[in-house]
Amino acid sequence: MPEITYLEAVRQALWEEMKRDDRVFLLGEDIGRYGGAFGVTHGMLDEFGPERVRETPISEATIVATAIGASMLGMRPVAEIMFMDFIYLALDQLVNQAAKMRFMFGGRTTVPIVLRMPGGSGTGAAAQHSQSIESMFMHFPGLKVVNPSTPKDAKGLLLTAIRDPNPVVFVEHKLLYKTKGQVPEGEYTIPFGVAEIKRPGKDLTLVANNVMVMRSLAVAERLAKEGIDVEVIDPRTLLPLDTETIIESVIKTGRLLVVHEACQTGGWAGEVIASVTGSRAFDYLDAPVRRLAGKDVPIPYNRLLERAAVPQEEDIECEIRAIVTGKY
C-alpha cells in the first residue's frame, strides 16, 4: 500500500470523487490558486476549473447556504470552512437549516452537503483559529460528524461523506495534515458509525479522536513494555457514535479513559461516559471512568501555554498509570 500524507488523502478523495461524479463541486475561500489555507485543494483549480472549484467572497453564512441550496437541486457541494472556528458565522444555516430541513419537511427532501473544516491547536494561531468543537455538532440531530485520525480513515470517510445524503461535518486536524500513513490502492469507503480498535489491549479502554489517537498509541506502546496493555479505540465518527464497540471493550477491560483535545466541560467524553455507565458495562467497571481533555480555556498564543492547554503524551501516560494503579 502506498504511503501518503493525511492532507494528500483528503485531496485524493475530493479529486477522485469529482472525477467520478460531476455533481460534486468545491466552494470556499481561497481554495483555488492559493489551494486553501493549508494547501489541501492545491492543483484542483487547474484540473477542474473555476466552476467546480468555486472561490467565494468572505461570507461564511452564505457559503453554507449556497451549499444547501445547490444540494436541494441535486448537486453534491463540498464546502471548505478555512478554520473550524469560523463555522459559528454559518451555524444558523448548518443547524437551523441543513440539519432540520429534512425533518421539518416531512422527509420530502435531503441536504447532501459536506463541510470540511480543520480544527485544533498547536500552530500558535491563538484563540480564534485553534478551537476543537466537534463535540458541539453531536448535539444537533440531522448532522453527521466525522473526525478521521489517519490518512486511510480520512480518504475512506470523506468518500462516504460525499456520497451520504445527509449534511456531514468533516473535521480535519491541522497537526495531522503532514502525518503519513498507508492507504489502500484503488477506491474504498469506510462506513460511518464503526469505531476502529487501533490497538487491542486488556487492561484499559482508551477512547480518543484525531491527534489524541496518535499520542495515545505512542504512550500505549511505551507502557506495553511495562506490561500495561491499553486498548486504543478511535470512534472515527462521533455522530453516529459506535457505542457498542466501546461498551464491549469496557466489559473486557473494566476501565475507561476518554482523551480529547476539546475543552473538558461539555466535551464528547461526557457522551461516551454516559453511554457506557448507563449500559450493561456498568457492572464490569473496576475503576472510576475518567476523562483527560483540553483545559477549559481559550487556546493561548504562547507556545508553552498552548502546549499546557491540551493533553500531551506525558499527561496521557500519567493518567493511565493513575487508573491502572488506582491512584488518583
Binding site: G74, M75, N96, R102, M104, F105, G106
Partner: protein
C-alpha cells in the same frame, strides 16, 4: 416596460407609503401584457382563495384547533398572485414565514396545506413542519422558513445549481422588509450579482417587521435601492396593484433568466397581527382601515375587472363563494385526516 420605476429613487413616495397605481385602463394594459380574460379572472379567483385561506386559518386558531403560531398574508394577495403568474410554473420558489399566499399562488393543494396547518399526517410535511415550514418539492416549492432572512442566501445555491446545470429556470426568493436587515441579505445579493445567477428577489414590504416600523429599522428607503450597491437593477412598486406586480415581475423574471438578477420591492400591508402574540399596539386603527378601504388589492382588482366588463357582480360573488367552498372542503379534509403516529417520531431525521 413595467410601470414600476427602474432605479430612480421613489424614496419620498415610499416614505409616505403612497404609491399611485399605473393609470392606464385594465383592458389596454391586459392586452399589452397579453393576459386573456380567463387568466385575469383566474388571478382574481386565486386572490380570493388566499384571502379565505387566511381568514379561515385565523378562525381555526380562534377555535383552538391550531397548536402553534402562524403568520397570515391577508392584504398581500396581489404580490403572491401577480408574481407567481409572471414566472414559469417550473421555476423554483424559496418562501418565507408569511408564505401561505405564495404557496397557493404557485398551485399548492390547499387540502394538503390545511392538513399541514392542522399538523396532520396528510399534510405537505406530514405534520412535522406546520404553517412556517410548508414545502412542496414536487412543484419546486423549496419551503418556507422560520428564520427571518435565511432563505435569501439559499437562493444563491439554487441559482448556482441552475447555472451549473444550464437550466432555463430561475429561482424566486421571497422575504420581508425586516429580513432585509439581516447580514445574509448583503452577502447573498453581492454573490448573485457577482456570479450573474438566475435569481429574482422579491421583498414584500408590508411596512412592519413584527412591530418595527420600517422607518425605525432601515436607515434609507426604499429597501430596493440597496441593490445598487451590487450594480443590480431594482424596482419599488405598488404591491397592491396586481397588474403592476405582474408587469414588473415579467420584466424582472426575464432579466433573471438571462443572468441579470433583480430585486423587486412590493409595497403592501398585512391585515392581521404579526402572529398570535400580536396586540397591534404599534399601529393605528386608522392606518389599518385606510389600507382596507382605499388599497385592498382584491377590491381594487375586482372594481377594474367589473368596470372593464370582464366580470360582473354575480360572477364575482360566485367566484368568491367557490373559493370559500374550496377552503371549507380543505378544512373538512384536514379535520378528517389522522395525526402522525407518535411511534414515527424519529423518522425523517436522516435519509
Amino acid at each position: 416596460m413595467p410601470s414600476g420605476k427602474l432605479g430612480a429613487g421613489v424614496t419620498n413616495e415610499v416614505k409616505k407609503m403612497v404609491v399611485e397605481e399605473a393609470g392606464d385602463d385594465l383592458r389596454a394594459r391586459a392586452d399589452r401584457l397579453q393576459l386573456s380574460d380567463e387568466q385575469l379572472v383566474e388571478m382574481f379567483r386565486t386572490m380570493c382563495e388566499i384571502r379565505h385561506f387566511e381568514y379561515m386559518a385565523d378562525k381555526l386558531y380562534a377555535m383552538g384547533k391550531v397548536h402553534g403560531t402562524m403568520h397570515l398574508s391577508a392584504g398581500q394577495e396581489a404580490v403572491a398572485v401577480g408574481t407567481a403568474r409572471a414566472v414559469h410554473v417550473d421555476d423554483y420558489l424559496i418562501n418565507h414565514h408569511r408564505g401561505h399566499g405564495h404557496f397557493i399562488a404557485k398551485g399548492a393543494d390547499i387540502k394538503l396545506m390545511m392538513a399541514e396547518f392542522l399538523g396532520k399526517d396528510t399534510g405537505y410535511c406530514r405534520g412535522r413542519g406546520g404553517s412556517m415550514h410548508i414545502a412542496d418539492f414536487s412543484s419546486n416549492s423549496l419551503g418556507a422558513n422560520g428564520i427571518v432572512g435565511a432563505g435569501i442566501p439559499q437562493a444563491v445555491g439554487v441559482g448556482l445549481a441552475l447555472q451549473m446545470q444550464k437550466s432555463k429556470q430561475i429561482v424566486l426568493a421571497i422575504f420581508g422588509d425586516g429580513a432585509a436587515n439581516e447580514g445574509v441579505f448583503h452577502e447573498a445579493l453581492n454573490m448573485v450579482a457577482l456570479w450573474k445567477l438566475p435569481v429574482l428577489y422579491v421583498c414584500e414590504n408590508n411596512k412592519y417587521g413584527m412591530s418595527m416600523d420600517i422607518e425605525r429599522a432601515a436607515a434609507k428607503l426604499p429597501i430596493a435601492q440597496r441593490a445598487e450597491s451590487y450594480g443590480m437593477p431594482w424596482y419599488c412598486i405598488d404591491g397592491n396593484d396586481i397588474l403592476t406586480v405582474y408587469d414588473t415581475m415579467k420584466t424582472a423574471a426575464e432579466s433573471a433568466r438571462s443572468g441579470q438578477p433583480v430585486l423587486v420591492e412590493t409595497l403592501t400591508y398585512r391585515y392581521f397581527g404579526h402572529s398570535k402574540s400580536d396586540r397591534n399596539l404599534y399601529r393605528s386603527k386608522a392606518e389599518i382601515e385606510e389600507w382596507h378601504e382605499r388599497r385592498d388589492p382584491i377590491k381594487r382588482f375586482e372594481a377594474k375587472l367589473t368596470q372593464a366588463g370582464i366580470m360582473d357582480e354575480a360572477l364575482a360573488r360566485k367566484i368568491d363563494d367557490d373559493a370559500l367552498a374550496a377552503i371549507d372542503e380543505a378544512v373538512a379534509f384536514a379535520e378528517a385526516s389522522p395525526d402522525p403516529d407518535p411511534s414515527s417520531l424519529t423518522e425523517f431525521v436522516y435519509a
